[in-house]
């Protein structure tokens, strides 16, 4: 049985101007030990999905169940157990902490309220949690307030607070997007190592495929567009061989931290899609039809169901013509990169062969700097 399952959930927020659903018939299974990354642009419903899973928002339709039981039917001890087991790490470590509580008070509150440890052991437990999150355990640090902490320290404190309740599922909503670049990797590493040592499963929400590939390696990815799951599958497989045009466009648009590759010509599809970026999602047919560079008549008439991708296990796509989707220009390996960095269309990604790893670019194999200068 899965750890948590979301079945046919739809949700909309009340708003005078915009009556568009935020989630449309979304179903997700989260298996214990298998991280799930949710990717999509702002407004696609990924944060709402996280809130539904954490029990902060009640869905308008559909059910969210934990250990097989609908979370909105749980009572008493069972409800407490669910609330402890599923914790949330917010995007904004500035807004997620109570400015009037010290570091020690921030951590002690949940421990006392949920009787995690006997009262006289709370202090020791606070110190243990700080150590776990890589924070200072000195007396002075315990008495600091959130405004006296750096962004990285705040996010570590938010993580320690979530860990205090011994969760089994952690919903991490863009946990590094508001942090400085030099802090991001260490926070991701902290989450990863806590996941391993404490048997945590993550629902990892992000708009950044780079971060997802690093964090959720070996896990699953789910791509959302305007409240609809358009593609899902193993992280490496979806990144190497997307089978939905939206996933392809997201991957193709990513700015590349490598000046030589960044300046190659992008696919025409990306250009076309960029021109249509303001197009409102289609009411009938495929939700992505108005922005899709590969759109055909059928797409505007009938909504495509989510179907398994031929030749790949666990890879699903909601597109009528998944074979039209080109492969994104991911690293083609050192030699190929040197030979034809400007050629675009003819260099598909080497097949990952169903194996877990995408072929890695060899950073050390770059030509020496002298060749460019």
């Amino acid at each position: 049985m899965s750890l948590l399952s979301v079945e046919h959930v739809s949700h909309r927020y009340q708003s005078a101007r915009d009556d568009r659903p935020v989630l449309q018939d979304v179903s997700v299974e989260i298996e214990s030990g298998q991280d799930l990354a949710v990717v999509g642009e702002s407004g696609c419903g990924k944060t709402t999905l996280g809130r539904l899973i954490a029990g902060l928002t009640r869905p308008a339709a559909g059910t969210v169940s934990f250990d097989g039981a609908d979370i909105w039917q749980l009572r008493g001890a069972q409800y407490r157990e669910y609330r402890q087991s599923v914790q949330l790490v917010h995007q904004d470590p500035y807004g997620a902490l109570n400015p009037g509580l010290t570091v020690a008070e921030t951590l002690a509150g949940g421990l006392r309220h949920q009787h995690i440890v006997p009262r006289r052991e709370v202090r020791d437990e606070v110190l243990r949690l700080l150590g776990l999150a890589g924070l200072d355990t000195s007396r002075a640090f315990l008495e600091r307030y959130p405004h006296q902490l750096s962004g990285g320290q705040r996010q570590r404190l938010v993580i320690a607070r979530a860990m205090a309740l011994r969760p089994s599922l952690l919903v991490a909503d863009e946990p590094v997007s508001m942090l400085d670049v030099s802090m991001r990797l260490s926070i991701l590493d902290l989450l990863k190592s806590l996941g391993r040592s404490h048997g945590l499963t993550y629902l990892f929400i992000s708009h950044d495929f780079g971060v997802v590939r690093y964090f959720a390696a070996g896990g699953r990815i789910m791509v959302m567009f305007f409240g609809v799951v358009v593609e899902s599958g193993p992280v490496e497989e979806v990144i190497a061989r997307p089978r939905h045009p939206y996933t392809f466009l997201l991957l193709d648009a990513i700015p590349e931290p490598d000046p030589r590759r960044a300046r190659r010509r992008r696919s025409d599809a990306t250009r076309i899609a960029a021109e249509r970026i303001e197009a409102y999602p289609a009411g009938t047919g495929c939700v992505f039809a108005n922005r899709c560079p590969f759109v055909r008549d059928r797409c505007r008439a009938e909504r495509p169901p989510s179907l398994p991708v031929a030749g790949a296990s666990g890879h699903w796509s909601a597109c009528w013509y998944p074979e039209d989707v080109p492969s994104p220009l991911l690293p083609a390996g050192g030699a190929a990169e040197k030979a034809g960095s400007s050629s675009l269309s003819g260099s598909p990604v080497p097949p990952a062969g169903g194996g877990p790893a995408v072929q890695a670019v060899d950073l050390a194999a770059r030509p020496a700097a002298g060749e460019v200068g």
Binding site: E41, S42, S150, G151, G152, Q153, D180, V181, S182, M183, R184, L185, S186, L188, D189, H207, D208, F209, G210, V211, R213, Y214, F215, A217, I239, L249, L250, L251, A253, I254, P255, E256, P257, D258, P259, R261, A262, R263, R266, T270, R271, A273, A274, E275, I277, E278, P328, L330, P331, A360, V361, D362, L363, R366, A368, A369, V372, G373
Partner: protein, 330 residues
């Protein structure tokens, strides 16, 4: 590349806010028609430096020493009227929060009219100004008829950023300063803004200075790059030098290997230990030393010099520069 006439020059600039020096002894020169990237983390002084390029140092901040020159003219010696003219006609800025750069209660078109009213000499007629604005809207891939009558609240974040760029270009400035032009936008809007900046640089020959914390945006756009750390310039050079040269500042190298990307092998990523130092309690020596893997005993004691090679590649690091001798000099 080195022969470009410098349009904007920053010489040994120090900007302080009380005791805190947000920018300290920074020198750089922006050539005409170039795309210049200023990179660093929050609090490193990159935005303070970018605003100083327009003579915008808001109190309590003040320029303690050094100068900013536009075509050889010191901004500090300009009168209020000259500065106003400079900011209108020569250097324009798109601030980081482009979302709040508009008046919410009048239409976009009315705001364009206001700009044209405030700067009468630029166009022979309002009509000519309006037509140029429409051309700019097409350049930022927006439909003029869709934007002119609309209000700020009807535009998405990505559209606002693009309208803000069109506003900044309305008076045909020679230099466009963009503060974090892609931050807070999602990946498709980011791509669009990157392509637009590249296009407008090519079609209008505008010199672009942009500030970012994202090295990927630098890799996409910049020709020359300056990297700042805790108020100081640690490295500057061409984008190839910043990414590929053997002689690079350890911070820059660490920053590049700490960036998760879809392309980079996750196993090669290395986090940077520690955190950015507090600007009010700086170490006497190199500011990156507490986090640096290469640090030697001299690093915490002596501030490293910025050593510039003949090609103009400047690095401030005791260890990396030790092989060069002192012939580089400023």
């Amino acid at each position: 590349m080195a022969a470009d006439p410098a349009l904007l020059e920053v010489q040994d600039l120090t900007v302080s806010f009380g005791k805190v020096r947000a920018v300290e002894n920074v020198s750089l020169s922006v050539g005409q028609g170039r795309v210049y990237g200023l990179v660093g983390e929050s609090g490193c002084g990159k935005s303070t430096l970018a605003y100083a390029l327009l003579g915008l140092v808001a109190p309590p901040g003040r320029i303690v020493s050094g100068a900013v020159r536009f075509r050889g003219q010191d901004l500090a010696r300009m009168s209020y009227r000259e500065l106003r003219r400079l900011r209108a006609r020569h250097i324009a800025v798109v601030f980081q929060a482009a979302m709040s750069a508009f008046n919410p209660v009048i239409s976009i078109g009315a705001q364009v009219e206001h700009i044209l009213d405030a700067h009468p000499g630029v166009y022979p007629s309002h009509q000519a100004g309006r037509e140029y604005f429409e051309e700019l809207l097409r350049l930022v891939r927006l439909r003029p008829e869709q934007v002119w009558r609309t209000y700020e609240s009807r535009l998405s974040g990505g559209m606002k950023q693009r309208v803000a760029i069109a506003f900044a270009l309305l008076l045909k400035p020679e230099v466009l300063v963009l503060d974090e032009p892609t931050t807070a936008l999602d990946v498709l809007s980011q791509r669009l803004v990157i392509d637009i900046v590249r296009d407008l640089h090519q079609s209008l020959d505008t010199t672009v200075v942009f500030v970012t914390h994202d090295l990927a945006v630098v890799a996409e756009l910049a020709e020359r790059v300056a990297v700042m750390y805790a108020g100081r310039l640690v490295e500057s050079g061409t984008v190839e030098e910043i990414f590929f040269d053997d002689r690079r500042h350890p911070y820059v190298k660490a920053l590049i290997s700490a960036m998760p990307s879809v392309a980079a092998d996750p196993a090669r990523l290395r986090p940077i230990p520690g955190q950015v130092p507090d600007l009010s309690a700086l170490p006497p020596g190199c500011r990156f030393e507490p986090r640096c893997a290469l640090a030697v005993p001299v690093c915490p004691l002596v501030e490293p010099e910025l050593v510039v090679t003949a090609s103009g590649h400047a690095v401030s690091c005791h260890v990396v520069n030790s092989g060069l001798g002192r012939d580089g000099g400023q």
